[in-house]
Amino acid sequence: MNLASLSGAGLGLRRSILPALAKADDLTALDFLEVAPENWVQLGGRHRQAFDALAERFPVVLHGLSLSIGGPDPLNLDLVQQIQSFKQRYGCPLYTEHNTYCTDGGQLYDLMPIPFNQEMVAYVADRVHQVQDILGERIALENASYYLRQPGSDMTELDFMSALLKRADCYLHLDINNVYVNSVNHGYDARDFIRQLPTERIVYGHIAGHEQKSEQLIIDTHGSDVIDPVWALLDFSYHRHGLFPTLLERDFDFPQLGSLLNEVQRIRSLQSQHQARHARLSHA
């Protein structure tokens, strides 16, 4: 499947929800699934069979964790090749990564923020180009959640992302929850941030729950339901930039599948409202 035909609402596929998904008789709320390739590329056995069955029914987006696009190590080209063959085998419409780093000569298995400055724009853009050359198509970078500004930062996150997308000539994977989380953690206006993003680069979105630790600190856990202000931001983003395929991320404290599908359904409803509105406007 190509990126242009990806639309609607999706759900992040974790091994723990495989049995429920395999058994479910109504998955009409789902338009697509997403996996972290680093959890599946090397996996065989029953889980892989269950994955294969689902991949027959749904497009699968790849959302990477280990590439370390902003990291100090040389790019792991073997990983890129593995992702490429997985992507080809399953016809995945998109590969996205986080605008972060996760390596220091080894893997830390979690995401660290990079400094926001012109040198890093150039450095990351160059690495994105390398990956895109191998894949033969654009990747998307996600605006990741971060809890501190790295020393050496002299740009805002917004300016950094905008400059990077342009220089790397890649897509933006807009994580709405991360905008909310970062706006609280770093005291900026979430709508202002979203409003100024380059519309033409946005191809994909995420929405998720988080944990508010204090008035100024939110942890991006993906472990609870999406809160209303984040839904409102998604609504605002569709309004400002038009529709983009949007995925519900849930990584632990899983509720019943039905409850996850209700949240996915809510993404669809929001998309329908915007479609209807758009149709009315064009008609007028």
Partner: protein, 247 residues
Amino acid sequence: MPDYHTHKTTQLAFAAHIRNPDKYPKPQGIDEQRMQVYRDLFFNNINNLIKQTFPVLATLYNREEWQQLIRSFYQPKYNKTPYFTDIADEFVVFLKNRPADDKRPFVAELADYEWLELDLEKSPLQPNYRKLNKDLLQSQSPVISPLLYARNYQYPVHRIGHTFQPTHSQPCHLVVWRNRDGNVHFAELSPLSMRLLEQLITTDLNGTEALLSVLADNKIHPDNKMIEYGRHQLLKWYSQDIIINTQ
């Protein structure tokens, strides 16, 4: 203006502090409270990944000892794989190369045993299970499933738990395998059955020859009882998907 090299040094220092805050200080200019968020998130993440894969091992340590063990593993030299499914492999290698733990001399074997289940479950191999005429088990060479590990452990790792932690060697022979439905099973074998299984894995002897050679090695007379034992064992392994074919 700093070049990327300056940033590289800072990035490495930031990561080093997360991995090992007692040894490497927090880089300058970073808020302590926010740094704590990273220290906690990252440690909890790797800790949970290991705990989920080694549930028995994790119960044998007190909180402080376990945290120390995870910290020792959470180092760039041990954490090379970008694949989350392979982190357990690296943890097992790490434990095997550690100096012996006198209190728990069995840890490397226990971790290996817990890892086998995971490794078989995730293996991409999909062997063909052939329906066999049972006489062929004796007259031809039985093919053992590639989804199988035969292990001779110094400790009965399958019985180890919070209340049973042997400090003296008690050899035990375990076979762990995945059947055609994708389920992983284990069985404890007698020393003789283990020898027979190993003979089938490593040679092309037919079922009868393999049994006779193992009996001869062990100076056991091949009487009717022993021949019957061998026949029964091969049939059982065939029914369990341990033997998947003959050739």
